[in-house]
């Protein structure tokens, strides 16, 4: 365990997938002791990422999932069968020595096992309990099930990612599993700060859909204040910008197969600079004279710009426009932004961790650096039950023999 900003905090962690595991990954990377509790009967497969691709080699199984390793660095992993009385007693003892209990099960699951907030509070009065599920524990849809794309669909985020005359594009990944995890980590720390200051614990009922709905604020105010819906007869292109208005503003083709570049002109100056680089007669068209003109003729403008960008290699164009100080970025492929991008490399964004079975694997780091207590990532995600003996002997005073017996009895 590293000595970090959050050293000394212990989290009794039932989270999984990304929406939950991502939250406690942040805490672990700053030194919190995060103890993942998993079900030995189902081999921890509630977290489907345990056994899912990508894989480092031909080996498969619950310890080999690449995504699981990525989201669970520096956590401890224990198994505990909560169907047994002894399992429940051990969990009770663990809660007693923990600062927070975290989970992202469907609503009501932990309570069904006998560890709802009231019970947790009875065990440890100042416990922080943070639950994270799609629609939250209260409200008409609290029994509904979600995963990232469903959260994005219901909250408006899928709808607002699209090209005209096309179905919604959505996000292409679980933006709200990542972001739900960020809000969950914020909620945990806010509740811990509150507890440090007042001595009081609480239950935070986080609904991922609600966190998602806060991410389209100006559009919601345009609706509630001006009565203007986002759903219009012709849907706008989300690659364009209306708030603030900018044109040109889009993603344009470059030379090669599936190569693209993003260009944004924030101002008349940006446009004049770009037009001088393009230096073609159409740049002087009356149709493109002012921002209002360019927005009125944006399809034609985008077609002209696309014809021009298609003659460029994307990184050469990026370099040229960077020199001219017009906002521009190549649409980077994973390989490009990970292995060939000095900004991520120099930032140390891809640390290598050691996993008990996979060996050395690179993972997502944190996109921040602290001058005194920076994050660290060393260990990969725990294999199933990897730290059961360590945690139970160290925290609960059991002997290795006790642990072996509990294994035999099906408690661990």
């Amino acid at each position: 365990m590293n000595q970090g900003a959050l050293s000394g905090f212990r989290i009794c962690d039932f989270t999984g997938q990304l929406a939950g595991a991502g939250a406690t990954k942040w805490l672990a990377s700053f030194g919190a002791e995060v103890i993942r509790i998993e079900d030995p009967v189902r081999q921890g497969r509630w977290d489907i990422l345990r056994g899912m691709e990508p894989f480092v080699d031909e080996r498969r199984g619950v310890d080999m999932g690449g995504g699981f390793n990525n989201h669970n660095t520096d956590k401890y992993g224990i198994t505990l069968n909560l169907r047994t009385e002894r399992g429940k007693e051990i969990l009770t003892e663990l809660v007693r020595v923990s600062d927070a209990v975290t989970e992202n099960f469907a609503a009501g699951v932990l309570e069904k096992w006998g560890f709802g907030y009231e019970q947790l509070k009875a065990i440890k009065p100042d416990i922080v309990y943070v639950s994270n599920c799609g629609f939250g524990h209260q409200g008409p849809y609290s029994s509904f099930k979600t995963w990232g794309p469903i959260v994005q669909a219901v909250s408006g985020l899928t709808f607002t990612s699209a090209l005209p005359d096309q179905p919604p594009a959505g996000w292409g990944y679980s933006y709200m599993d990542h972001t739900g995890g960020y809000y969950m980590a914020m909620a945990i720390m806010l509740a811990l700060i509150h507890r440090q200051r007042t001595g009081e614990g609480q239950w935070v009922d986080l609904a991922c859909t609600e966190a998602a709905l806060t991410l389209n604020g100006p559009a919601l105010l345009d609706w509630s204040v001006n009565g203007r819906p986002t759903r219009q007869p012709v849907q706008p292109s989300s690659n364009r910008s209306r708030w603030p208005p900018m044109a040109p503003h889009g993603i344009y083709p470059c030379a090669g197969d599936d190569e693209w570049v993003a260009i944004a002109c924030r101002s008349e100056d940006d446009w004049q600079t770009l037009a001088a680089i393009i230096a073609e007669p159409w740049c002087g068209d009356d149709r493109f004279a002012t921002l209002a003109d360019r927005i009125a003729h944006e399809d034609a403008l985008d077609a002209e710009i696309g014809d021009w960008t298609a003659r460029w290699q994307k990184f050469e164009l990026q370099e040229q426009l960077e020199e001219a100080r017009v906002p521009c970025a190549a649409v980077q492929r994973p390989q490009e932004r990970i292995d060939q991008d000095s900004a991520t490399q120099n930032f140390g964004l891809w640390p290598t961790v050691t996993h008990a079975k996979m060996g050395e694997v690179r993972v997502d780091g944190q996109p921040v650096h602290f001058s005194k207590t920076d994050w660290q990532m060393e260990r990969g995600g725990p294999c199933l039950g990897e730290h059961t003996e360590d945690v139970l002997t160290r925290l609960l005073g059991m002997t290795p023999e006790d642990v072996a017996r509990l294994h035999e009895e099906g408690v661990l």
């Binding site: 905090f9 099930k145 408006g156 690659n239 993603i251």
Partner: protein, 408 residues
């Protein structure tokens, strides 16, 4: 008191960090938004109240600056610089996204500020990291996201269409989420150690670690995901999950039925809608419903019966979707135990009964207009430490007298 009561944040106005300031202010921090005398450019961003541009009419500004107090200061002017330094001495946190050399040139680098307030937490949010020379290049949300990864994964099966950047300044939001996570982490550390520190947030790095399998498919297996219409970008193409419903709205069909009880519910619903005759494969739904034990999902594609059962499940979902409005499809599937979602526009979500029942719509008073408006509410509910919009966004220099009056 709430979690952040009494913590003072000085936010140097910049659209890149406005959301981080709002998240802290709505949790009770005393966020003082510092604008140049001419005001922050985002005050001029549409949409506007009643579509009329004007001072304090930008809804963009309203949203991102709730609960903050506002002062105006020209940091290049000696008297204002003195005031700013006096404010720093009272502050716990500085949140800024200035050009990387600007504050040091003004004698306001982290070392200077820490001399005024030793336990200061200084959060600097820059495009590529504070030490990267490219951080002083101009960026927008679009270029940030394009370079940082999300659009590569987002778009359509037809790759002649460009990759898509989701709207709503989500790239800035992601950077702001990390600015807030960092702030809270540093606050917890300061509570035990008494120490502040400098925090370097890279907006580009924030996008890079918010792309799910696109990144770790490369890190782990050197494989590249490809974008697909309305579903996860993937190394291997996957089946469609987005479908047009009878009312012209779309739904995300999520994970198709996998358990016998799900096949049973789907079959029953099909019959109830009188659609069974239109699905010749309905017999496979019945087989799925009466299956013993769990399905071995690895047999899909190799075992004829299992393959046919799962294909029938997807067909049945598509057929029902085409026959009922998207909302009915969503709630009907959910009641059958299937994780399906209606693809709402933001305002449709805002007006949905579930979010209303949870109190998501909150009234914010604008006293000078004599009106209240419905704002989006809390991202999380902390009952002992409630989220709240304390006041509407500040007018330019609205709290100059109040804030400067408190200084010695």
């Amino acid at each position: 008191m709430t979690a952040l009561t009494g913590l003072r944040v000085l936010e140097l106005a910049n659209e890149r960090v406005a959301f981080a300031g709002k998240l802290l202010a709505d949790m009770g921090a005393d966020v003082i938004l510092i604008e140049p005398p001419g005001g922050d450019p985002a005050r001029g961003y549409p949409p506007f109240l009643d579509d009329e541009p004007g001072d304090d009419r930008s809804l963009f500004w309203w949203h991102y600056n709730t609960s903050k107090r506002g002062v105006s200061l020209d940091l290049a002017a000696a008297e204002d610089l003195r005031r700013f330094k006096a404010l720093v001495a009272t502050a716990d946190i500085i949140l800024e996204s200035e050009p990387t050399a600007r504050l040091s040139a003004l004698g306001l680098g982290y070392a200077d500020l820490a001399a005024l307030r030793p336990d200061l937490i200084h959060v600097a949010v820059t495009p590529f990291g504070h030490d990267d020379p490219r951080s002083d290049l101009p960026i927008t949300d679009l270029t940030l996201m394009a370079g940082g990864g999300p659009p590569w994964s987002c778009g359509y099966d037809d790759h002649s269409l460009p990759p898509v950047r989701g709207s709503g300044n989500q790239g800035y939001h992601t950077a702001c989420h990390f600015a807030v996570l960092s702030t809270l982490t540093a606050v917890l550390y300061r509570m035990t150690s008494g120490e502040g520190q400098f925090i370097d947030v890279s907006m580009h790095a924030a996008q890079n670690v918010t792309t799910e399998a696109a990144t770790y498919s490369w890190l782990v297996a050197q494989k590249t995901v490809q974008r697909q219409t309305g579903r996860h970008a993937s190394v291997n193409p996957s089946g469609e999950t987005q479908t047009l419903c009878a009312d012209g709205r779309y739904a995300n069909t999520g994970v198709p039925p996998r358990f016998p009880r799900e096949f049973a519910s789907l079959h029953a619903w099909l019959k109830e809608l009188g659609l069974e005759g239109q699905l010749p494969e309905a017999v496979f739904l019945e087989m799925g419903a009466s299956w013993e034990g769990q399905f071995d999902l690895s047999l899909i594609g190799t075992d004829d019966t299992v393959t046919a059962i799962f294909a029938a499940g997807r067909e049945a979902l598509q057929l029902i979707a085409r026959s009922v409005p998207a909302y009915d499809f969503f709630t009907g599937c959910q009641r059958a135990g299937l994780a399906v979602g209606v693809i709402y526009s933001p305002e449709e979500a805002f007006e949905d009964e579930h979010f209303k029942a949870r109190g998501f719509q909150v009234d914010v008073n604008h006293p000078e207009l004599g009106r209240s408006f419905r704002y989006p509410g809390a991202p999380y509910a902390l009952p002992a430490s409630p989220w709240r919009i304390y006041r509407r966004a500040p007018q330019l220099g609205e709290h100059n007298e109040e804030v400067f009056g408190e200084l010695k």
